[in-house]
Amino acid sequence: MNRNFYKTLFLSSIVMLLSACQGSNSEEKITTTITTSGSDKEYLITVTRPNTTLHLVDLQTNKVIRQCDLPAGPGPGTLVMSPDNSIVYILTNHFSDIYGVNIDNCDVVFSTQQSTGNIRVKSIASIAISPDGKEIYTHQNRVKIMNDHYEMLPPQIAAFNTSAGLNVEASRTFDAPRQVTIMDALESGELIIGGQDIFLMDIHSGKYDVILPSLNDKQPGYSGKDVLSVWQMGKINNEFYRMYSRAKFNGKDGDLANAEYLFGHETVNLETGKAEAKDFGPVETVLFTSIRRPGQLNRVYATLNDLKEYDSTTQKLIRSIDLPYTYYCINFSHNGSKIYLSGALDSIAVYDPDTFEKLAHIKLTGDGSMSTSIIFKRQG
């Protein structure tokens, strides 16, 4: 644990990262068939501050077609959509409260203030919805604020009934690991919990196990994986997805000074539950989020100050451009033909994934910093 260790760990960790992308129409093969309904229209939904404003964007016209100002305190907006894509659930007010909003009329149909009494709760981008849309799950970091001191309480997973209306209390809770960020649910209902490792929880019994070691991955020749994922993005590939960086040792294990650094992604197929990790390219600059291209899952696109394309089969960088400014969040259209960059400042940029030509610039009112964007389809 010498200075060199920290220097190299810094290099590794600065490359923190990532995002989860969940999709609806992909398969596990490298090349997938994109199936879409001809009458479906594609939308993007995201949140800006300071007023916690929901923006619904019609991706056919690239116009904001609806804005909803929420009765919520500011904060990054972490979003999940109901299965029928009619209600968006927003974790906001400094990662504390959740609001469910009908996107057709801006009605708030669900809310919970997780902090109650003298217990303050923070969910660091950890929100998921059950496949049937009946329950919202959060990971709760809890502190009990006593008269003259704070007392940390064990973290827990909380379940909320989405049909319970406003000011809902958790219907049940389970013990959970610390240091959890993004989550999602398998189609079979189990909860995927992204922490130091990736866990799977039986949401009825609360029992959980590691399904993919991450920080605690002991693969010889490599360090554990470093992950910071606070973005859940788009139901595109029907997978839980987060990016990592790790050191590949060129000499003795632990010799970070001579190591090379790699980006990779961890995925959990939401249909099958199959969990995998795969390196996709060298660490050359800091990137915050990445995503696999629908239809060509070996092509990984990533962003922060650059837009980059990697081939995870060869683990090579294919293409890279500078961006005019920072975007935290990368997303894809369902058919893989357009990239959407968002989650920073007041715009969404649209790029062609084959040419990196900029196709459109969608202006928002407010700052989308650290907020999720979700791309979904529905009729009308």
Binding site: Y6, N141, E151
Partner: protein, 538 residues
């Protein structure tokens, strides 16, 4: 080892606390305010009040604590029928710092934080401590506190409860942060920074000196140069003083001003004083005998623009405080200023220096025109007045071989531009070195020549990225003659690449032309974003 640690903890827990009893009965405004304002949350215990009576801190540390109660826990200090002008914060801090402060020895090595000397790279803390405690704030902030183990434990829970991202951010998520903090760091800091200590017990029993009287000051004012002055200190009431200062810079410019100070814990001097139109804050520590004050003066609102200060209590006995400049070139004639007390005798210098004329002499200062002979040996020379000597402070040198830029790594912060946070300037100075007789750098005969005045300053890109991004153009302005860097305005700059703010990664170059040769020194300057949270202890 485990037994020893356990024993240590038990010893601390069972040692009677020293001040709690007085909190019940103390008649000071501070104690009254604590009794009338804090009992709503803090519970009386055998030793005093919960939490409060189990910690010791500096005045700044207590100020942060009480302010946190105000800002986060909605404390509104009710002054009752107390006839005080302040909000009550000062009185509470004064009581706590006096009765639950740190002994002088307990602040050694970390006083730079109290002195707001923030361009300091901490290297004294081990990696584990630095990673757990000093990646968000200074290590000194921890080292300037003393707590019982239970209180250190509470501090861990407070950190994670108040700042949940601690265990998610870099060097937090790569470990079991909470477990390490609770199980490893708490025992470590409980042992290293214990609530009870012999030094503190001893300091409590020590009679504290009164600090009124006349003081002789000397220092190097940014942008002005060396100065000498006297500061008259008059006691208004115990620990509260009025100040008036009078003196001169080396260039003859007069210094005149007034101010005030408060002494906490019997030695922690905090004051304000004007040097002409320059408003300075003082953070000083008085020696146990009340004969010296050491610390730093810095500009109000620009903490990085300051100077180290040593002050000497005036005394009929001859004592030498300082000499400036600290170098005389062989064969050259210059005026040197010696400061001290009881300077009634003649100055005695070695034969290699000729005293041409005593230009002025008072009890506290003498200015002497001297010539270093052509054949003088280079090296430090002793200065003697009466029986008093000043050693290794004045050097006869042949040439300036090198300039050292101090601080070696400075940080400046963009600000203003409609925002709530002002710009933070930083100041660089150049210390000269003669490599000595062997002409080789970093050997025992190298001579430290003190600050060199006639250097010119510039900033250059530190690397290719800084060059490409035109950091020199955008990040701010370096005063070429004073070494003071003023950063540019805050906020995204549309003229910059990626509309980034006016941050910059720069090198600072000091240059001096010496015998037709150009001598240069290099330092580092990071121009970065604002600090939004500016507590007294960073």
């Amino acid at each position: 080892m485990r037994k020893q640690t356990l024993f240590g903890i038990l010893l601390i827990l069972t040692t009677p606390l020293l001040f709690a009893a007085s909190l019940d009965t103390d008649d000071s405004a501070g104690a009254k305010l604590i009794r009338s304002n804090c009992l709503g949350c803090h519970v009386p215990t055998d030793e005093g009040l919960s939490r409060i009576s189990y910690q010791r801190k500096t005045p700044e540390g207590w100020e942060m604590t009480v302010n946190r109660m105000r800002l986060i826990h909605r404390l509104k200090i009710n002054k009752g029928d107390l006839d005080i002008k302040s909000s009550g914060l000062h009185e509470i801090v004064k009581y706590l710092a006096d009765n639950q402060g740190l002994a002088p020895s307990e602040t050694q090595g970390v006083r730079y934080l109290l002195e707001q000397d923030l361009n300091k790279v901490e290297t004294q803390f081990d990696d584990e401590f630095a990673t757990m405690c000093a990646r968000c704030h200074s290590g000194a902030r921890v080292a300037l506190q003393r707590r019982t183990p239970k209180e250190w434990n509470y501090l861990v829970d407070f950190h994670l409860g108040q700042f949940p991202s601690v265990e998610y951010s870099m060097f937090g998520r790569d470990r079991n942060w909470f477990g390490i903090a609770r199980n490893k760091m708490v025992p470590l800091v409980s042992k290293k920074y214990p609530f009870t200590s012999e030094d503190w017990s001893s300091w409590l029993m020590t009679e504290k000196p009164e600090l009124d009287g006349k003081w002789i000051l000397s220092g190097h004012m940014p942008g002005k140069g060396y100065f000498s002055a006297t500061m008259q200190v008059n006691q208004n009431k115990k620990d509260y003083y009025s100040l008036s200062v009078e003196g001169n810079y080396a260039n003859g410019e007069a210094i005149k001003g007034t101010g005030s100070s408060v002494v906490y814990t019997g030695y922690e001097w905090r004051g304000n004083i004007n040097f002409g139109d320059i408003s300075l804050r003082q953070t000083l520590a008085a020696s146990a005998d009340g004969q010296t004050l050491r610390g730093r003066f810095y500009q109000k609102g620009q903490e990085l623009i300051g100077m180290k200060i040593k002050a000497l209590k005036d005394n009929p006995q001859t004592q030498l405080l300082s000499v400036f400049p600290r170098h005389i070139k062989k064969g050259e004639t210059t005026n040197i200023t010696i400061t001290g007390s009881g300077l009634t005798d003649s100055i005695i210098l070695p034969a290699s220096i000729t005293v041409n004329k005593v230009i002025s002499q008072s009890n506290n200062s003498m200015v002497v025109k001297v010539t270093a002979k052509n054949n003088a040996a280079i090296g430090y020379v002793n200065i003697q007045v009466g029986e008093a000597k000043l050693t290794n402070q004045l050097a006869i040198y042949k040439q300036v071989n090198a300039l050292e830029v101090v601080p070696s790594y400075g940080v400046s912060r963009v600000g203003d531009n409609g925002g709530s946070t002002p710009k933070t300037d930083t100041l660089f100075r150049a210390v000269g070195f003669d490599y000595g007789k062997d002409g080789i750098a970093n050997t025992a005969d190298d001579l430290n020549l003190g600050y060199i005045e006639d250097v010119t300053w510039q900033v250059v890109p530190r690397d290719e990225v800084a060059k490409k991004d035109e950091d020199v153009k955008f990040a701010g302005h370096m005063n070429t003659s004073t070494g003071q860097f003023s950063p540019a305005a805050a906020g995204p700059n549309p003229e910059r690449y990626r509309s980034t703010n006016n941050a910059g990664n720069l090198n600072v170059i000091a240059k001096l032309t010496e015998n037709g040769n150009e001598i240069s020194g290099i330092g580092r300057l990071l121009v970065t974003v604002q600090r939004w949270n500016n507590p007294p202890l960073k």
